[in-house]
């Protein structure tokens, strides 16, 4: 019986994950067209090997040439990576103390605090980003507060700027950084830092030389968990960014919904996937090498 367990989910995943990806790849290699399918070339199954030959010959790299040639797409790809990398770095810096504090909170209260971190993470993403509009807009709460304290005289333009996108990314993905880090830190033996203190290390040095190196797997997991979806983020740049905020998720969206260029949108999807697979492979290899050196 155990041999048949995977069958149903396997078929489902093949049909609704693998097949769609292959179709996307195929359509990204179709001739540019703004209408509905079918997109050329069409694979002629009845022609056997010859059909494959003709199909492969007719594949068109025009969409990828467009992506490479037009600075819009290059800039979008670069700025997606830049936004994601910067926000990940900020999240590591902000998330580590929060996760550390969470792990050191009284055992009785810890489940409550963890639930408090999880609740927003389950709450509507769209609504949590929308909430920032009211805070960041020129006549919003942040500007009102700053003017009231006298720090600034006239409202700052924050909404529709890269700063707003960074705030949104940091806010939305904080739980993704804190939770895996907390998982690692809460399992750390507290006597390790006590031993460091006993050997004369200040709390800061104990944190830097003992806790942080041991928390590394959590930091890596959290960074990947944040970086990957951020590269393809759509809602945050769309709601908080300006019209000039270029991120690939948004470009894909507008190629599809506004320009109705499905083959080009597919090519953007392929590019996005490549950009995401890259860091995953790099990280995994780096971790594997570390593991071997450490042994």
């Amino acid at each position: 019986m155990k041999r048949f367990l995977p069958v149903a989910p396997y078929l489902w995943l093949a049909a609704f994950v693998l097949l769609p990806c292959l179709i996307t790849l195929k359509i990204s290699l179709s001739s540019p067209a703004t209408a509905q399918p079918p997109y050329l070339p069409v694979l002629d199954w009845s022609a056997g090997i010859d059909g494959w030959g003709a199909f492969l010959e007719a594949l068109d790299f025009a969409n990828f040439e467009t992506l490479a040639g037009d600075s819009l797409y290059r800039d979008a790809a670069l700025s997606s990576l830049l936004y994601a990398a910067t926000a990940t770095a900020i999240l590591v810096i902000l998330g580590t103390p929060v996760a550390h504090a969470l792990a050191r909170s009284p055992a009785r209260l810890q489940p409550l605090f963890v639930a408090l971190v999880i609740v927003p993470f389950w709450t509507s993403f769209l609504i949590r980003i929308y909430a920032w509009i009211a805070i960041l807009k020129p006549e919003g709460l942040l500007n009102a507060g700053l003017i009231w304290t006298g720090l600034i005289a006239r409202p700052l333009d924050i909404l529709n700027t890269p700063a707003a996108v960074m705030i949104g990314l940091t806010y939305a993905y904080l739980p993704f950084m804190v939770l895996p880090l907390y998982a690692v830190l809460s399992r750390l033996d507290p006597t390790l830092t006590e031993a460091a203190a006993d050997l004369g290390a200040s709390p800061a040095r104990a944190f830097w030389t003992v806790t942080l190196p041991l928390a590394r797997p959590g930091i890596v997991a959290g960074a990947l968990l944040c970086f990957i979806p951020m590269v393809g983020e759509f809602i945050i740049p769309d709601l908080l960014g300006g019209s000039d905020t270029l991120m690939l998720g948004r470009v894909l969206w507008s190629e599809f919904f506004s320009n109705r260029d499905w083959p080009l949108a597919s090519a953007v999807a392929v590019l996005l996937l490549v950009l995401i697979v890259g860091p995953i492979v790099l990280f995994r290899d780096a971790e594997r090498q570390r593991g071997e050196v450490g042994r």
Binding site: I23, G249, W253
Partner: protein, 261 residues
């Protein structure tokens, strides 16, 4: 807890909750200007209740989320059992990759590729395509939640049942299933919330007549801040909080024979 830790935790939680608090507070604002406090009022909740399209969208979302979560829970549990109990089988590596792929793939890619599939198959876009897409998204999360529980389950419990004469089906029905039931409930709720929350994938795969709540909210949010949305958000946040607390209670309920969570 040192003062530094207390400060970090306090600021972290404040950062997470401030925007939500703003929404909740201003949903009770009598003024239609979002940043001007016009006194306490529930008038926006009244407007909300009379907003036919919004309520219709919410009903679509609930229908899609329950069915998608049901499918995701069944398939995800089978996947978790396959990954934890079947040992080696052909294409195990590819299977693992496919289970986890929808969790890490950007939603725009999942949405676009599924849409291209549905168009290729000639399926009309609507409730069915939405349910398929959301079930696919939830499957991996269910597999992770149920898989964690299965991993923590003492294998000798199932072996003991087999040793006492129970065939594989009876072992599953009388030992495995009762012991993983809380995680099934938690996984169902997770898949349910993921579906309820999704805007991007739904925008691709849904069709006319199947507008979900996030799609409806998004079309209004794009026009700017709106107190009625604040009221809707408050209700949604309240509902989700309730669901999360239930789920974490279910998943975390201590039970002998299960190590860890």
């Amino acid at each position: 807890m040192s003062p530094l830790n207390r400060l970090s935790l306090g600021l972290g939680l404040a950062f997470l909750y401030a925007p939500i608090a703003v929404l909740v507070v201003f949903s009770f604002n009598a003024s239609s200007l979002v940043t001007v406090w016009g006194g306490f009022s529930t008038r926006w909740y009244g407007v909300l209740l009379n907003d036919g399209p919004l309520i219709a969208a919410a009903l679509v979302s609930l229908k899609v989320a329950s069915l998608a979560a049901l499918v995701a829970t069944i398939l995800g549990t089978l996947a978790a059992l396959a990954l934890n109990r079947s040992g080696r089988f052909g294409g195990r590596g590819a299977f693992t990759g496919l289970v986890y792929a929808p969790m890490v793939m950007p939603e725009v890619i999942t949405g676009l590729s599924l849409l291209l599939l549905f168009v290729g198959l000639g399926l009309d876009r609507g409730l069915a395509t939405l349910i398929i897409a959301h079930a696919t998204l939830g499957l991996g999360f269910v597999a992770v939640v149920v898989g964690a529980r299965l991993k923590g389950l003492d294998r000798s419990l199932e072996e003991a049942a087999a040793d006492l004469g129970a065939g594989p089906l009876r072992v599953f029905a009388t030992v495995t299933l009762p012991l993983i039931a809380p995680s099934l409930a938690a996984a169902f709720l997770l898949a349910f919330t993921l579906s309820l929350d999704d805007l991007v994938i739904a925008s691709f795969v849904s069709g006319p007549g199947a507008t979900t709540l996030p799609m409806r909210l998004y079309s209004q949010v794009r026009l700017g801040v709106n107190p009625e949305i604040n009221a809707a958000s408050t209700l949604l946040v309240g509902g989700v909080t309730l669901v999360v607390l239930t789920a974490s209670f279910l998943a975390g309920r201590p039970s002998a024979g299960v190590q860890g969570t």
